[in-house]
């Protein structure tokens, strides 16, 4: 399963937050917080699933 972390943006360098995803094979992806990016959509879906109340 991929692991996610948020890399905070630096206002002094005009950068915004970006999502870092580390895949099982060790590959690291940097995912912009663009709602139209399907990887970001998948991150949000994972976040929602993990925060859903457990039955």
């Amino acid at each position: 399963m991929s692991k996610y972390e948020i890399i905070k943006g630096n206002p002094d360098q005009f950068t915004k937050d970006i999502v870092k995803r580390t895949d099982e094979n060790g590959q690291v992806w940097f995912i912009p917080t663009d709602p139209a990016n399907s990887d970001y959509q998948a991150y949000l879906a994972t976040l929602a699933a993990n925060s859903a109340p457990q039955g």
Partner: protein
């Protein structure tokens, strides 16, 4: 419609006197399997293979095929089962392109062969969501199981569908119509989705080879270390050294992408920073400030002298690459 227009249309449909290669007619990008930016062998891979074609079944190895191809084509996509499985590939078509098909009769066609002479699949799905993810939820518009042999046919297998007027995203699904035993193959090329009830001669979606590459790069592109000649180090871009521990650089993309892409180096990419006349490695890669047209990347290592110019580089092996994905 004038007689001349009618004649032209008929001749295009029959491949007659008027050249039938029309850019934009075909909504299936890389239907001719020309573009393989991610590589040409995908061992037991569920994911993207040839550009824009996502293989969805487990126990399938996808490779580039150069022998079993339709007449007039250079490449096919071949899936070989490594255990009993149903190889299938799909391609989601973004809303800006899918919407011209809404409410219309469309024809899906391709040339396909199966080593066990089992049938092949032609299926078209739709979603009412804008730019639905390729692996998202879809509703089937229709599905056909069509005969195939171990030889590539001279005319394509075809199926016709009526697209609901509410469709926002279409998804083509092709491949084997059922499970194949271990070692069986399904091979295809010349995929076309077009308006109308008749399959017309194949045209690349992008019209030309370069047009097709550019279309593919709207969704994915890769900078390969192996593309360099005359050096064992590949250039990424020039950079500025903002501190003693990092060099950053801005580089443009070859085309504007569909959305701001996700960016990754290969799991074993050897990134190298050049500053003060010295190479700095091992370097840790990161990306920031990503837009549809460019990005900032940084390499972190020790020993830089701040406020100098430098360069961001990588090795030149097949493990060295930088990839960008804006797929649906």
């Amino acid at each position: 419609m004038s007689r001349a227009q009618l004649t032209s249309t008929v001749e295009q449909n029959t491949g007659g006197a008027v050249a039938p290669w029309v850019g934009g007619k075909n909504a299936a990008i890389n239907g001719g399997a020309d573009i393989w930016q991610r590589g040409t062998t995908f061992t037991n891979t569920v994911g993207y293979t040839a550009d824009r074609w996502y293989q969805g079944a487990g126990n399938v190895t996808t490779t580039q095929e150069t022998t079993l191809v339709p007449t007039g084509f250079r490449y096919s996509v071949k899936g070989t089962t490594t255990a009993t499985s149903q190889p299938y590939w799909f391609q989601a078509i973004e809303t800006a392109e899918s919407q011209r098909f809404a409410g219309k009769t469309v024809t899906l066609s391709y040339y396909a062969a199966t080593s066990d002479s089992s049938n092949v699949l032609l299926r078209l799905d739709y979603s009412t969501s804008v730019d639905n993810s390729a692996v998202g939820t879809y509703t089937s518009i229709g599905s056909s199981s069509v005969a195939a042999t171990s030889s590539m046919p001279s005319t394509p297998q075809t199926a016709t569908f009526v697209v609901p007027s509410t469709a926002k995203t279409l998804r083509i699904v092709i491949g084997a119509a059922g499970n194949q035993s271990t070692g069986a193959t399904t091979t295809f090329s010349g995929v076309q989705l077009e308006v109308g009830s008749v399959a017309t001669p194949f045209s690349r979606a992008g019209g030309t080879l370069q047009g097709e590459l550019s279309l593919c790069q709207r969704y994915y592109w890769r900078l390969n270390g192996t593309d360099v000649t005359g050096s064992t180090i590949a250039n990424i871009c020039t950079g500025y050294i903002g501190s003693s521990s990092a060099i950053s650089g801005v580089y443009p993309f070859p085309v504007q992408m569909r959305v701001a892409p996700s960016i990754a180096g290969g799991a074993s990419t050897n990134f190298i920073g050049l500053g003060g006349g010295s190479f700095h490695y091992p370097s840790t890669f990161s990306a920031q400030g990503v837009s549809k047209t460019n990005a900032i990347i940084s390499l972190t290592a020790s020993g830089y002298t701040a406020y100098q110019a430098g360069a961001l580089l990588m090795g030149s092996t097949s493990a060295d690459y930088l990839e960008h994905s804006a797929e649906l």
